[in-house]
């Protein structure tokens, strides 16, 4: 009876895992950084430096969460 719902959930879960992956904060951070870069460009600032800085910071923060999680558990 619930198989269409289960299938829909599975489908949604698959695409979430495929696009967002293990750490949703990284995906959100990328979107925010690109939106900020777009906003700065519209304001006349060539913000090419913002996304690379965001990548370094997001990767570092994500890895720090892994280390902290491992130490806790």
């Amino acid at each position: 009876m619930s198989s269409p719902l289960t299938a829909l959930r599975g489908f949604g879960r698959f695409w979430y895992d495929f696009v967002v992956g293990d750490d949703w904060r990284v995906a959100l951070g990328v979107v925010v950084a690109l939106a900020a870069a777009y906003g700065l460009v519209k304001a006349g600032i060539n913000a090419w430096w913002l996304p690379p800085v965001a990548v370094v910071a997001l990767l570092g923060l994500s890895l720090r969460r892994v280390v902290r999680g491992a130490r806790r558990g």
């Binding site: 895992d17 293990d22 996304p51 994500s62 280390v67």
Partner: protein
């Protein structure tokens, strides 16, 4: 980006996924029924080809700036997933991917499953196992082929890289008749993660309207910088994660089911 860089990036990404798909197909074939496993693999390859055939022209219709912003952002998220796992594996926070162990798990599950066929497929379990393994591992590669190929306006080279990788891995896998446990998978994932992240950040930044100093030549700086940052994170994490530490390989089980 030269054709060689495009070819090499797609080739490496596809090789990693092909090794994982081959492990599953070998498990289905050797323990269940080779014919059904090969039917499943063939059906998955047809489904992947159809996906590329539909997505390719559709993606080509998107204006270049919008394509670079959206696709660059997706590649960036993918690339950071690959890099994150490569750093975790390289520093001991996640177990190295063991194709021999993965193969043993698949074999055990396949032996325990029920037998039975449907239509022309004699063993439905072997068919679906091979289909899922090939399709899921191939979907990310299909995305890379379509996006890299369209961004560089050179889809044939991207397709060639994917085809060469699949043929090579398949030929070696069937020649040795065992999972390819000796492939330096984490090194390849590190390289692919570096390339996806570098091109993702390059294209998405251009898509957001910013201009890189030196235009395309900035990639010659961006790629080594991303590799150095990831290598640096690996070294720092490895330094804090000694073999006697209780956190070594501790968090490895949290990312099961991921495509990378």
């Amino acid at each position: 980006m030269t054709s060689w860089v495009l070819f090499l990036t797609v080739f490496l990404a596809c090789s990693v996924e092909a090794v994982e798909a081959l492990t599953i197909v070998l498990a289905a074939g050797t323990t269940r029924h080779w014919g059904s496993a090969l039917q499943g693999t063939g059906a998955a390859l047809v489904a992947l080809a159809a996906t590329v055939a539909v997505l390719g022209p559709a993606v080509a219709q998107i204006p270049l700036d919008a394509l670079r912003l959206v696709v660059g952002a997706l590649l960036l998220v993918f690339g950071m997933q690959w890099l994150r796992k490569a750093v975790m594996r390289g520093s001991g926070y996640k177990a190295l991917h063991d194709e021999a162990a993965a193969y043993a798990e698949e074999v055990e599950a396949a032996r325990a499953a029920e037998t039975g066929g449907r239509g022309r497929v004699r063993d439905w379990y072997a068919f679906t196992l091979a289909f899922k393994g090939t399709f899921l591992e191939g979907l990310e590669v299909a995305f890379i082929v379509v996006t890299f190929g369209n961004n560089q306006r050179d889809v044939p080279v991207a397709v060639l890289g994917a085809v060469v990788a699949v043929v090579l891995v398949t030929a070696v896998g069937f020649a040795v008749r065992s999972p390819l446990a000796q492939v330096p998978e984490n090194t390849m994932k590190f390289a692919v993660g570096t390339m996806l992240t570098s091109f993702g950040v390059f294209w998405s930044t251009e898509g957001a309207g910013a201009h890189w100093p030196g235009s395309d030549t900035s990639l010659l700086v961006l790629v080594p910088v991303v590799a150095l940052v990831a290598a640096g994170y690996t070294a720092v994490l490895r330094h804090g994660n000694t073999p006697t530490s209780s956190v070594a390989v501790g968090s490895g089980a949290t990312v099961e089911g991921s495509l990378t």
